[in-house]
């Protein structure tokens, strides 16, 4: 494949359509302008030849009459010249007579001279002193004496140059219009295609309800229609899957409620059991708690996925919240920083903190866990830092992925199922914030929650009181 062809293929469809229109317009304009120009020129020249021929015949008659009565060629030439808009020259065997000093015998084309020598009236176009001339030649009565009349073509040439300029302007205008129209047409043709590819990108990002408007009934419209069908099918498929997860989780809740209540009752009396039975009770309690957490996490994820997450804005003191969460979890994490009062979803922030603190203990080794609350300008920050083994750099970008576990190779207590960080991330995102992580192996991990500071609930939120 040649390089220019490859270059063209790499350009956008819009550029290519415009370029095709432009090139075609240039070619057409060039051909039409050239043809027009030469047609006009030959028409004007023919006309001039016609009138000049008539004039020459008359002048020739007069010249013959003069030569019949006089033999002073320079006077005859001067007389003739007064008869019309031309310069005259008479040549004989060894001299020439001219109406203007600018003329010399060299101005007479050799072919014309040869034809006139055969006693014929003839004409020819020539250029003399950088001006085009129409030269007529005719034999006079004295032997070897000829009359030449030089008709200037400067007026025709002026007209032609105007015509040329007009044609050029018209050609440019045509090309410009063609390119403009091409761009519009291209945009119109390409826009639906761009829309479809935009929509495809949005679907890929997870906005499954994205559709394109089938504006036309042509091939592009068909593309839009089949895209919509595909998106619909995809959406239904994913919704079905999510509904299934939500339903299963919901159905699991009731038996888990029973299990949890019953197992905790047994747990409260574990001292009354023999050691093996006590261990059995402890196993049941631990795994019922895990099962409960799994179902709760699945429920929360499916709520977010279904777009059913409703935010409840209220006044929150982030430090007091952090302290309450730490106390509820019976952890020894330190809470530092200011009493940052903002408006947020308290229940969601509670889960964010619980998940991050839990993660610090489960995966961060649980040594020296520090929660620091701060406010800087428009954002409130909560930092959860541990002094654990840190996270491998290649694992960092995957941390917030669902079901991702950085330490899957290690044997450890089965705790969460890897949804905790994803849930924390989603809950912060729902409130317009973000969670970032920085970690280095051996130097601990820091999760940073950044929440926009709010003095009151966002305008589109439902009032809570």
């Amino acid at each position: 494949m040649s390089t220019p062809a490859r270059f063209v293929r790499r350009q956008s469809l819009r550029v290519r359509i415009t370029a095709a229109f432009g090139v075609t317009a240039v070619l057409l304009a060039a051909v039409l302008s050239t043809a027009t120009f030469f047609l006009v020129r030959s028409f004007l020249e023919n006309q001039r030849v016609q009138s000049a021929t008539d004039e020459t015949v008359v002048v020739l008659q007069i010249a013959r009459d003069f030569f019949a009565t006089s033999s002073e060629p320079d006077q005859i030439v001067a007389q003739l010249q007064l008869r019309g808009d031309f310069e005259a020259m008479v040549t004989d065997a060894d001299d020439f007579f001219r109406s203007t000093l600018a003329l010399t015998p060299e101005a007479i084309p050799a072919e014309l001279r040869a034809v006139v020598a055969t006693e014929q009236l003839a004409y020819e176009f020539t250029t003399f002193e950088r001006e085009r001339q129409l030269v007529f030649g005719a034999p006079l009565p004295p032997p070897r004496t000829d009359l030449y009349l030089f008709y200037p073509l400067s007026d025709i040439d002026r007209t032609l140059s105007v015509v040329l300029r007009v044609l050029l302007a018209a050609a440019f205008a045509t090309v410009a219009i063609a390119v403009t129209v091409a761009q519009r047409v291209a945009r119109r043709v390409v826009r639906p295609v761009t829309e479809v590819s935009e929509a495809a990108r949005r679907v890929a990002e997870g906005l499954l309800e994205t559709r394109v408007a089938p504006a036309t009934r042509d091939e592009v419209g068909a593309l839009a229609a089949s895209f919509n069908e595909m998106a619909q099918a995809l959406e239904e498929m994913i919704r079905r899957e999510r509904r299934f997860v939500a339903n299963v989780s919901h159905e699991l809740r009731t038996p888990i409620a029973t299990l949890r209540t019953a197992s905790e009752l047994l747990d409260a009396h574990r001292d009354e059991f023999s050691p093996p039975r006590r261990e059995a009770v402890e196993l049941i309690v631990a795994d019922v708690a895990n099962l409960n957490r799994l179902v709760e996490e699945l429920m929360e994820v499916s709520e977010v996925d279904a777009g059913r997450a409703i935010l409840r804005w209220e006044d929150v003191d982030l430090r007091a919240l952090a302290e309450a969460v730490v106390a509820k979890m019976h952890r020894d994490a330190q809470v530092r920083g200011d009493h940052v009062a903002t408006v947020a979803d308290k229940a969601r922030m509670e889960r964010v903190l619980a998940n991050l603190i839990d993660n610090a203990y489960e995966h961060g080794g649980g040594r020296d866990v520090v929660v620091t609350v701060d406010r800087a300008g428009d954002s409130c920050t909560i930092e959860v830092r541990d002094a654990g083994p840190g996270i491998r750099p290649q694992d960092v970008p995957l941390l917030f992925d669902r079901f991702y576990k950085a330490d899957d190779s290690r044997t450890r207590e089965r705790g969460g199922i890897g949804l905790g960080l994803a849930i924390a991330y989603e809950n912060v995102r729902l409130q317009g914030g973000e969670v970032t992580v920085s970690s280095a192996p051996g130097r601990g991990t820091t999760f940073l929650v950044r929440l926009p500071y709010r003095a009151e609930p966002p305008k589109d939120a439902e009032a809570t009181e």
Partner: protein
């Protein structure tokens, strides 16, 4: 529990038999006398016949009446504390449901410890402050020690929780009380409690004691901060 103390009676209305049995076992294990009911009608019958000290009501109940309806029915004749049980995915808003007369709610599945903590907070008997004088604001007469509230001379029927809320406000008259403080004082919650509980109960209290609940003069809202009982005109 003291030896020989009469156990407090708790009515548990829950349609799922296994959940109900497990919860009843956990409550019985804590020393409560548990009455079980599988639907609202059964629950209301037990309510009439056995006069429980506290009612736990599942919101989603089979039959014509759901938990909110049952609570409304109970409230016609009783100030007994009511705790709603709700599933997070229930379409009804439990806080709106609290307007029907509930005192607190728990989201299923809950830890039994949590339920017991909620029951204890609502059943907690408070010793009245040794303060003899009555508080009189406008046409409102509050006798904390005597447990009586009169409006324009007429006794006002407050539930136990509403009375506790009013008591907390009156005992700290003209002081700002944040929602979190009230949650802790009245319901025994730490910072994590749902502050909407306070808002709903303040609204209910106002409806009973304010001359114009839409323009409260006694229980004032301090925007973004909390509430205040005002004795100043």
């Amino acid at each position: 529990m003291l030896i020989n103390a009469v156990p407090e009676k708790i009515l548990l209305v829950e349609d799922d038999r296994l959940v109900r049995r497990a919860t009843a076992l956990a409550l019985a294990d804590e020393g409560y006398d548990v009455l079980e009911a599988g639907d609202a009608d059964e629950g209301l019958r037990a309510m009439r016949d056995r006069r429980p000290d506290l009612v736990i009501l599942d919101v989603m109940l089979p039959g014509e009446r759901d938990g909110f309806e049952a609570a409304r029915e109970i409230r016609r004749s009783s100030d007994v504390p009511i705790i709603f049980l709700t599933a997070k995915t229930d379409t009804v808003d439990v806080v709106v449901g609290l307007e029907s007369g509930g005192d607190d709610y728990l989201t299923k599945p809950f830890a039994p410890r949590e339920l017991i903590a909620r029951i204890r907070a609502l059943l907690r008997r408070r010793r009245a402050e040794p303060r003899a004088e009555k508080t009189v604001v406008e046409d409102l007469e509050i006798d904390i020690a005597g447990g009586v509230v009169r409006k324009a001379g007429e006794p006002v029927g407050l539930t136990k929780t509403e009375f506790n809320l009013l008591r907390c406000l009156v005992e700290r008259a003209n002081q700002l009380l944040s929602r979190e403080m009230l949650l802790e004082l009245v319901w025994g919650y730490d910072y994590l409690g749902d502050s909407r509980l306070v808002d709903v109960h303040v609204r209910r209290l106002r409806a009973k004691i304010e001359s114009d609940p839409s323009e409260p003069k006694v229980v004032l809202t301090i925007r973004g901060l909390g509430y205040k009982f005002s004795t100043e005109p």
